[in-house]
């Protein structure tokens, strides 16, 4: 009986989901056919065809796979750098009150500035090139990483620390056995939010300074009036973003078994 109920629920999910997507596509198609919208915007069919075509025919320098790969490489470099530095600084500030007192005021000037706002400064400092893009991605994720790590480091259960001290733990053991493991779930939350801001920062940076990458693809669609490029750029961004986020969630589930959060 229960199984039949379940399968009915699953069937409903499928049916309504497909209905939802179909009605969206239908509205899109109808809007293209009957309103001014269609004069600038491609129909779903055209967009799909263009997306498939983009895999074989290059747009600008590369095919769509090349653009995605370029953007991914940039994100990865900037993201890894910013995570390593952010976790280090966060742990330092979270554990040592002294370091916190010295660094926090300076950090709190930088913290509220969005990564994207650094673009003009970065261009003036470094010029136009790969390192500028890395820098922007770095700044995009950095402060979130630091804040989350500080939170995690300060959130450690005081009783655990007390018990460990009574049982005669050494200082370096305290860090590795208790403080670090209890901060790791927070660090993972930081890694997740920072990944999505990094992905956003690379788009903005590419729109402004680059000549390849997914951000450039979207912007070139606007500049040349080929809105199709725009649409396929967005579809690929959405797809890649989705894959990245689920990869990271899976990694957290496997690596972070002691975390009880869902």
């Amino acid at each position: 009986m229960k199984q039949r109920l379940m399968s009915k629920n699953a069937r409903d999910t499928l049916v309504y989901g497909i209905l939802g997507i179909i009605s969206f596509l239908l509205v899109w198609q109808l809007a293209c056919l009957f309103t001014n919208f269609g004069r600038i915007f491609p129909t779903p069919g055209e967009s799909f065809r263009a997306l498939m075509l983009a895999f074989v025919e290059p747009i600008g320098k590369y095919t769509i796979v090349g653009h995605i790969a370029t953007s991914l490489r940039r994100v990865l470099i900037g993201y890894v750098l910013s995570s390593v530095c952010g976790i280090f600084l966060g742990l330092l500030m979270g554990y040592s009150e002294m370091a916190n007192a010295i660094l926090f005021p300076i950090f709190s000037i930088i913290r509220p500035i969005p990564g994207i706002a650094w673009i003009p400064l970065a261009i003036l400092w470094i010029g136009i090139g790969e390192s500028t893009i890395y820098f922007i991605i770095f700044m995009g994720g950095f402060s979130q990483m630091v804040m989350n790590t500080i939170d995690g480091a300060q959130q450690v259960n005081r009783e655990l620390v007390g018990v460990a001290k009574v049982l005669g733990i050494r200082r370096h053991q305290l860090f590795g056995r208790i403080l670090l493991p209890s901060a790791v779930p927070y660090i993972f939350t930081g890694l997740q939010t920072s990944l999505s801001t990094s992905w956003m920062a690379v788009l903005a940076a590419e729109m402004i300074t680059a000549t390849e990458g997914v951000g450039w693809l979207i912007l070139s669609g606007m500049q040349t009036g080929r809105v199709v490029n725009n649409v396929i750029g967005m579809l690929s961004i959405g797809g890649v973003g989705l894959i990245l986020a689920s990869l990271l969630r899976e990694a957290e589930r496997r690596l972070c078994i002691w975390s009880v959060r869902s």
């Binding site: 989901g17 010295i102 969005p114 706002a117 003009p120 729109m207 959405g238 989705l242």
Partner: protein, 257 residues
């Protein structure tokens, strides 16, 4: 208490040393003042920009006002549409099943990605910015109010059912109030996202606003104005967040202390 004052003093001292070192490095010529203008210069530029329209056509106050307006319109619109949508998706099963897959496709696209399309539709005026910010805030609003409602305690609902409450009554007297803190978390994320994507949208195409100001200043090489603009963006971002935290503390029960 004494320890606290000690650390507070260290913080103040650290900030003063930081600014002094910065001032020294760029006035003495160790770091080029063209790359890193000294704080005193930045302060002068700030005062100058408050009263002068040069070089980008508007005073600093105007840029701030335009940016704030765009951000808040988009944010308000996103909340007004996103929160009810998230709530109904969580409460009405069919609604959820209908919108979920569609939403899952749109969700991972960063708001910045929408900028070119919105500009194609609405031009480079206010409308395109507001619509990008709308997207930046509607998505977290939906996600958070959705999970807020989903986290309603079953026991509470059972009690209400036992006393014969209708589904609608349960929604308004149990589910929505208990989702309050989550909805505010959504608002926080949304506001943050709004401010970020506003800057991005203004950098890419606009004629007024803080993002426009720093972009033009970059093009003519006025790094001092870029600096002032970036700091002002940070300051107002922090102020908006502070305001939201204040409202949350005042009106929502059971949220953060």
């Amino acid at each position: 208490m004494k320890k606290k004052t000690k650390y507070a003093l260290i913080s103040v001292a650290s900030l003063i040393v930081f600014i002094a070192v910065w001032q020294f490095l760029s006035t003495s010529g160790i770091l080029s003042a063209r790359k890193l203008p000294p704080p005193s210069k930045l302060f002068n530029t700030f005062i100058y920009k408050l009263q002068n329209k040069k070089p980008d056509g508007s005073m600093l106050g105007t840029h701030i006002w335009i940016s704030l307006q765009e951000a808040l319109y988009g944010f308000a619109l996103g909340m007004v549409i996103g929160v009810p949508l998230g709530i109904s998706m969580a409460w009405f099963d069919k609604f959820d099943k209908f919108f979920k897959p569609l939403f899952d496709i749109i969700k991972p696209i960063p708001p910045v990605g929408w900028v070119p399309i919105m500009i194609t539709f609405f031009g480079i005026g206010m409308m395109s910015k507001v619509s990008v910010i709308f997207i930046a805030s509607v998505i977290p609003a939906i996600i958070n109010s959705y999970s807020g409602i989903k986290q309603t305690k079953d026991v509470h609902l059972w009690v209400a059912q036992t006393f014969g409450a209708s589904r609608m009554k349960m929604l308004f007297t149990i589910a929505i109030p208990s989702a309050g803190p989550m909805i505010f978390t959504g608002a926080r994320v949304a506001l943050n996202g709004s401010w970020v994507s506003l800057v991005a949208a203004e950098l890419i195409a606009s004629t007024k606003g803080l993002g426009y100001m720093i972009q033009t200043a970059r093009l003519i090489g006025r790094i001092d104005i870029v600096f002032v603009g970036v700091l002002v963006i940070g300051l107002f971002g922090a102020m908006l967040m502070g305001l939201l935290t204040f409202i949350e503390k005042k009106f929502v029960k059971g949220g953060r202390r």
